[in-house]
Symmetry: C2
Subunit: 205 residues, 2 copies
Amino acid sequence: MTTQRRVRRGRRPGTRDTRGEILAAAQNAFAEGGLSGVSLRGIATGAGVDVALIHHYFHTKEELFLATMQIPLPIHELVAPLTAGGTDGLGEHLLRTMLAIWESDLQASLVASLRTAVDEPATTRSMQEFMTAEVLGQVLHTLPYPETEANRRLGLVASQLGGLMIGRYILKLPALVDMSVEELAVAVAPTLQRYIDGPVDGVQY
Amino acid sequence: MTTQRRVRRGRRPGTRDTRGEILAAAQNAFAEGGLSGVSLRGIATGAGVDVALIHHYFHTKEELFLATMQIPLPIHELVAPLTAGGTDGLGEHLLRTMLAIWESDLQASLVASLRTAVDEPATTRSMQEFMTAEVLGQVLHTLPYPETEANRRLGLVASQLGGLMIGRYILKLPALVDMSVEELAVAVAPTLQRYIDGPVDGVQY
């Protein structure tokens, strides 16, 4: 009885159901193939829907990925202003954007997903690809660096931003929790700015 | 048969047994009370041994804690040279010490324990207390800062070091994995040095 009801509930027709089936198919696909190994077309086939429906509900593969992690972030809206401006003040802008996201209602979901990412290899791979390619990558690859240098700077930015978020929101180190967003901006933005356009290898010293 | 053998092996008399019983008692105690809520005397009682035996096997509470996480690090030997010198080049010295530890045979244990710390609240608390109070704290509190400023600088150092270790050794971000220790020292040491003795609040800018 209970089982039958569950099955029926999962398959009842209508809008929310389609969305849910896409999400479920995406979750399986990302767990198996990671972000880069998965195509929207493959997920559409898995969910038995047209690929246009996925675009309708989730816009992009990256937002679909965030949705499977229960983080409804409009990535394209967030990244656009960061890539519009050039490097001036970009460290601070990036830091404030990240802190605003983490200080929002999304904090619990972000904590949960970062925990999962650290704990599960498959999610780690997706999360890692997502962070580097889709968010920071979009920002840093607009700058005029050779590919390898852009990647290196991106890794350095990720190390500081990631460590700050983990220290403040997951490990809850008192010193980091006690600092305001303003104080963090003053202390940490110069680090990000140097990683973005300052000297980060021996040659430039 | 098998079960009996296991029981016998776990309880055979002699040196390793006492050490194991101390470790087991410590593991329980830290999981319940965190690093600060636990005394060596309490652990000694739990293990049914004299507290002197704990000192004999593990030297300090901090090393006992590391032993419960299977990280046999001689903390007092590592921290001493870092606190001996003053702040000149301390950022680089600290970074190289941490990288040397993470590049050693201990890497697998460190990865496992950091994963656990991010995942389990009780371990998180112990790990957090350990990192801040025992390692970085010992280094930063030798410098002439008021308590709150020392703590803030310590939190900033922890955010960069922690993020680097997580990015390179747990998430394995290619950009960070591909950098040599030398390259990391050049890129990241100035960040740590600024957090140690550079301007990190608005007042000093």
